[in-house]
Amino acid sequence: MLVAAAAALLMWLVTNVAPREWHVPEADIVVDGVRYRAGPDELRWLESFTAAHFDAGGKAARALVADEVDAALDGLLDASRARLPEFLDWYYSLSGEYSRIAMAALEAAGLAAPGYVAERAASILLPEDAWTARLAGLESTAAARLSAHYRDVESAWRAEVAMRLSARRIPAPLGPGADRRPTLVLDGLVRDIIARETDALGLRVSLSTATAGVGAAAAPALARAVGARAGRAVAGRAAARGVSRIGAAAAGGAAVCAPGGPAAAACALLAGAGAWLATDWALLYVDEAMHRDELERALDLALTNLRAELERELDAAFDAAIAAHGAAVQREISRTFVPAEAGRDASGASTSSGDGGTGRDSGV
């Protein structure tokens, strides 16, 4: 009876008490389809290395983009500087003079918007077509270089991970679910990073469009500076011309047409107009001789300031895109490495239902 009771008790124990399993805090890592077994130290290293590597990649991307922006703005400003003589020629021409006077009169009468000279300067120095083409070139070049850069960053990351974990390579499990350890499929992480990089490029496209608007808004600012400088000259010249033109016209008409008899009035009108134009031309000539270089330097300085402002704007725009990309990558890295936490925090021994063991008779 006692034997039967002991046997029954032992039978109950063997069928109801599970063996104690020893769990090693490990996780499987899949990179480029190759599986590695990583312990807590390797997991910590991999997470910190991945974060640091892509962060450094982001910093390098900023420097790369800054170079691109610098080169693009150099080209843009060189072209603008090359157009300075064209603007100055117009500015110191009679047509330019009378255009400004006419537009000033219309502006005073409320028939035209202010800033004619500013718009003219912007249209000559910063033509929309050239500006748009240059930004489009910057956008495509930067995108291509960033794309290549991120590919290099990912390739270097893969190579380093494969090299560091080469001693921990393991065969693939027999099938889905055959391995119950946490598995980090870092191919997915790389895919997501590439997708986010593509998103960042899309963001840059919209940013470059916005930056084109910034340029268009900055151009009038440049032109207003020119207009302020020119306005002072125009006012000086107008005051001088107001007296000299009238005097020259009256003197010219009286001198030339005094003996004209009945045709003296028409003669005086023509002679006065001629004297008016000649006076204006002479005054413009003198003004150009005195102030053209100064105006050119002022415009050059304004273009330089505009370039610096645009560089800041573009760098900020690209930095924002790269920073957003970097933040997304870091989030992706943190999210990806969460499954490994279970492996890291697992205690050594725990009770399981016995499914971790294999049958001794796992034979034919």
């Binding site: 046997a7 032992l10 599970a18 399993e21 769990h23 294999t358 008779d361 796992s362």
Partner: protein
Amino acid sequence: MTVLAARMLALLALAAGAWLVHVFGRVLPTWGAGLVLVGLAAPITLGLARRGRLRCAAFRAVYLRPDSAVGRRLGGSVLIHVRAALVGGLLALVLFSALVRLADEAAWAVLVVGAPAAGGVFALWRNGLRGTFTARYLPEVAWRLTVAVAGVAMGAVLVWLAFHRPYPDVGGVTLERAVWHFVDQERARSAPVELLLQLAAVKDGVRLWIAQQLMPQPGLSAGQAVGWLIVLAEEAVFVWSYLSFLCPVVIESKHDERRDVTG
């Protein structure tokens, strides 16, 4: 309580010890696993040595004069114990890895039932053959027949259980992946224990891979027969080591032998 009942309880205690090895074998520290191995090897060695002395005594009684020089020197004490210790250590390793890895509850039921059953079968054989064999050799004969009966029965059930156990399909994978599948599941706190378990897993992986390569289609074939012969041999070794572990409880001590002789 009768002697037989006490013996069966002792056998159940040994079976419980074997089950505890299964429960805690993977979480033992190395020194603990060493003690467990000694605990497995000691009874096996004791049983083997006791049987060896019985055989030696029988040989002396039959073939040698008691007063001869050879008869006096052929006590067999040292050689028998050394040989028993070597075999016992080897069987303890086999038994330890097998017990730790034996996850089938039905197989454990076989071991639990088999322990007292072995004691009962031994008692039956001993009583049945008491009039045929001398008292000194009777335990050895009864044990051999017990191993033949109980061992074959246990082995047959274990093979039957192995036959109905599901196995992973490794027919289409490389040997490396097949072996790794089994090795990767063997974890233990003690590195030597883990190595021992993984070596046993390598054996399982190689055997299963070869078997499934040789006989991809179900049905009888020479390869299948070879595969099952290997399983049979494994079960035989396991049952042999398990019964050897129970042996010192079943076979009487010298005191019992004397009692049998006198009474």
